[in-house]
Symmetry: D2
Subunit: 362 residues, 4 copies
């Protein structure tokens, strides 16, 4: 089902870019989780428009209102519903998009799927704005995960051909993770961040855009969590990650790189100190047979360059079936990847949390 | 749920490598689909052990028995159950694996997840053998898709650093797709196939293994199929692909490569001949906003080197928590990627079919 | 999952009696359905508190706000979210219920289930008020069903030992169905309604309450709709009906009465006029093998007497584990069955609609 | 989905009366449950044809074969698949039913639903024989429930107008429950059983049939189990009960009878001995707000008279649309209610088990 995700918890999301509001309902939350509204606000702000010179000019504050499911700052265990009202809408910016497809956007496919009844304004239900409910839900998950010392850490690994330095996961403490969250372009190398920012601004000035790769790790994850086959940790997480607009690829551990390695190099051999069991390398990204092995869960997500560019592009009027030229109006990030970090990070937390609720760890 | 996949159809699979049998139940198949048992047998044979010098020596014939849901060669519309009985089992090969983890296998995580009650023989439920029911279900899907002229084509794009030539999808006719299915290593370049085979045999002789990348396209797919957000075509297909053992990455269209491109290069501009609507490039792999746009759906899957190698490896006894050396006995492919082609191809067909049933195209 | 219902459409509901609001999200609505806000308001008013001397004194107007999924009065096909804000709350009426169980209410079981974190005010998530989102969703379903000439008709068949006359379904036209909707106690016999009303008022004056039986028919239902076994029409509808508070029984067609008949009496023999196929009787209530046969779908629902009565009752403090006397404060109907008619009627419409969407009749 | 039931465990069933076999797959069973094959065989025999003069003459032994998911007599935690092969088939008995509807059977609706492709032999997928997999799964559930002292007890409460005596649940010990299981007509009053048997045999001699009411209780159920609203204990159980062929009604606790009572009579007042919390009466059948309260869960199921009677009946040829006379051949029980006891009992166990797995009580 399109708008509902999760196995143990269920997140139902709704909204269009220019509807009365966007939001979600989270069912089967464990009762008694403390909801940190400041953390939620912080995460929404990271994702939000207007956070930096790299993002779009849309300025509405994403202030969520909780409609149900929380009493005295704690979850009741019954559905937590929340809404973020839409306000700063320039609907007229989108008038020409009712019949004209923005290249590499969902205007044409949305028209096909919904027989012309979908809300085209601002991308409607396909808008990147729909990731705000995901970030909200991810923040709720983080409130819970923190109780168990589990946290996520995310960074931009590359923008176009500019690569961040290798990271050492041992250094990715909760403190460091927070530090990254407060950077405009979260990288371990300050100079990489600077080069990335310059590149994005340069492309913006050329009315163009950039993509990138986001790397995320789930730290201190419980071991033995997940399922074989159709409900492998990778399967469930991937179904969430590919729900995020602009994602074109996902890899775990060594990912595509492992196809260049011999088995004897790729295998994560195990050792024990008599207490814990560990692997010497982590090419499998913390998962074997769909189940966590106690090592960090590491994955990378490919984000394509922002499809909305201000250059004139060839396209079609899909109702009249005529060839057209299009210049996209409205406000758009030159590198959506920058804001997508908070969304991917939220997905990681949400998926880990869903499995842990299933395993009755809460 | 771990053993059930699908939205409109539901595939429930079962079995362990050394149980009485493996198989599945497919629910909500449209009534009246002609089941081509020869095609099913052919696809199972492609996947099967013993198909070439590259594969393992296990020789049992994967002959499925249909238990229900088919009358006079046509689906009834009620659940189609099938079983493939296990026969050629060397359970004693696996005796030491009850407590000893094969590196990069699910022995340790399976033990954790099932509290020691899981069937360890031959990997049990985690065995690659469980992909046979997937291939069966995929073959059923292909029987249906053929009615609409929809088909899949798959090849090995690379094994380690050996790359196949670029393929031109216009040339990937049903005839060519079949030709690839009959190759031991399906590539468009015969010399690439030869080099890949030599490399695999060479690694095998070194008691080592190789991985690779599989590329697959769904041709003539209906447009307007799929859903936004959580049920994006990529989401549903990814949940299936990551169910296949040894998969470490998945990318659509240009995939990770698109992160190196500018938006103005990456965008798939549209044109029309007054009838159909097409894109000039297909960097998005035939999907926008989770919904098909009528172009071929193209994706690539990273398969890690076979984890079972015959070299001595460091590992642990996870019950006693002691460090151990392990030499894996039993029969193993030096490059599982070769046989995985049929599985990935089946996943593609199954996912396309599931969406088309949902859209009442059958 | 507790808060989500439906197979083809998915209704997710949320809220507590005294939270910021109650509401729901309906996913996978067909695009282009005209939403008649007046019909929705009318149905909500039927269910609402304060509609008559028989109902509770709570006076807040249940005015829903649509948050997404509707543009220009038509469904977009993406999730339709709506909220009904709570206003007229006397939370302090419920202070003693945090630890004291109202007999035959969910106070004690809710406490167990949610470990004390559930919202006890006004019954919280267990409140009958949560049926308002059901009525909203049912009204949306009715907007769609009307396009196909399908409608529901409901009446109170009995209150305590007072029975309405037999109804003749041939007379239950859409006009008559509307007439019933406008009655305080919808019966075919005016004198039965009068007697029922008197009985309820009399019990109310005795600080007591009454239950009753609601009968509902789905008229002009498409034939061939439903599924065998676990997704039988009765199964899916029953899962919805038993979600309504105070429901203790459900029967289809002749129901429990059929157990007194011989097979030769009970069987619905068939006949044809060469065009349609009909049954001479309708003891099966329009369903065979879980699938509709084209006859009216008829079912009856048992509603227990309102559990909240103002008499002193024996109960326990479930935290301290002490025996207590309780006098329930707050506002309560003497016969919840009267208002439940609109809820059961909504369930019927919703279930019929869900199946028709599945069968792509919309 | 039609063939899959359950929330925490998932039971997928398959088969047609005359296909190769019938069976099921149970996913997400807790690992380590001891499977008592004798108990399973006993329960299947109770349900089975040929157990008494009251049942049909079909004699095949329902011997299940376990295909996966059990090692050394214990569940592995991965899918448990089982098959019961069909053998004693008189397909030719059913030749005239391909186009002729047996009154109050699913022949016509099955034809509509599956466009003529369904297997009509012996009722195909609609056959009562499909309850054998339910009984198997219920027996597995009972193996697990026994560990916690939870058990089910079932009896025939009435056949036509012959009523069994009231039962006292305090007397319904596990021993008594087993005693009932070994009776042809399980009642607490031996004379009632005798009268029922005579009535059934008398109707059989008249080529007619009888229905009845089955009463079942789940004893020692954990309290606090279940969910509000859509996943109420009654909702989930009802979806299963109405999956059983011939069920026309279901009521919990006092059921329809409660509609005749005043609130002050109907309410289950609570008391405590300082340890446990109990209700003085059990009109609610052990459930409040969809959640168990620790009292026995009591429900009654209405089973219609066997629709297959050997008298000539009016019907139609639904392909040619002509009026016809039909005499049903084949073997049929005069009172299916007798064998349905084991099925309803299995449903109760299965539902209780599903909730307990969800609550991680296993």
């Amino acid at each position: 089902m399109s708008s509902i995700w999760g196995n143990s918890i269920k997140l139902s999301i709704f909204g269009e870019s220019h509807s009365r509001g966007i939001g979600g309902v989270i069912d089967n939350l464990p009762p008694g989780i403390e909801i940190d509204m400041e953390e939620i606000a912080f995460e929404l702000k990271r994702r939000q428009t207007g956070s930096s010179s790299l993002a779009t000019a849309r300025k509405e504050p994403d202030i969520p209102e909780i409609l149900s499911g929380v009493v005295d700052g704690k979850t009741t265990g019954t559905p937590l519903a929340f809404v973020i009202y839409n306000s700063d809408q320039h609907s007229s910016d989108y008038d020409n998009l009712k019949v004209t497809a923005r290249p590499s956007h969902a205007d044409y496919t949305g028209y096909l799927r919904y027989k012309g009844f979908n809300d085209h304004r601002g991308g409607g239900h396909f808008s990147g704005r729909l990731t705000a409910p995901l970030v909200f839900a991810g923040a709720v998950a983080k409130c819970a995960l923190r109780q168990k010392g589990i946290y996520t850490v995310s960074r931009i690994k590359s923008i176009m051909d500019i690569e961040d330095d290798a990271w050492c996961l041992d250094d990715m403490t909760p403190l460091k993770a927070n530090e990254l969250k407060n950077m405009i372009i979260p990288t371990v190398s300050p100079s990489a961040a600077k080069m990335m920012e310059e590149r994005v601004l340069s492309l913006k000035s050329e009315l163009d855009s950039a993509g990138g790769v986001i790397e995320c790790a789930i730290m201190n994850m419980e071991k033995g969590i997940g399922n074989p086959i159709f409900d492998a940790f990778e399967s469930r997480l991937s179904s969430l990650i590919f729900s995020v607009p602009a994602v074109k690829g996902l890899e775990f551990g060594e990912g595509f790189g492992v196809t260049k390695m011999r088995g004897s190099e790729a295998n994560d051999t195990l050792y024990t100190d008599g207490e814990g069991i560990y692997t010497k390398t982590n090419h499998d990204g913390g998962i074997n047979g769909g189940i966590t092995n106690g090592m960090p869960i590491v994955f990378r997500t490919a984000i394509k360059p922002t499809a909305s560019i201000s250059r004139e592009q060839d396209t079609v009027n899909f109702v009249e079936k005529t060839n057209e030229k299009l210049v996209i109006k409205g406000r758009h990030d030159a590198c959506i990847c920058v804001r997508a970090v908070s969304v991917i990070d939220a997905c990681a937390a949400l998926c880990a949390f869903d499995y842990l609720v299933e395993a009755k760890m809460f």
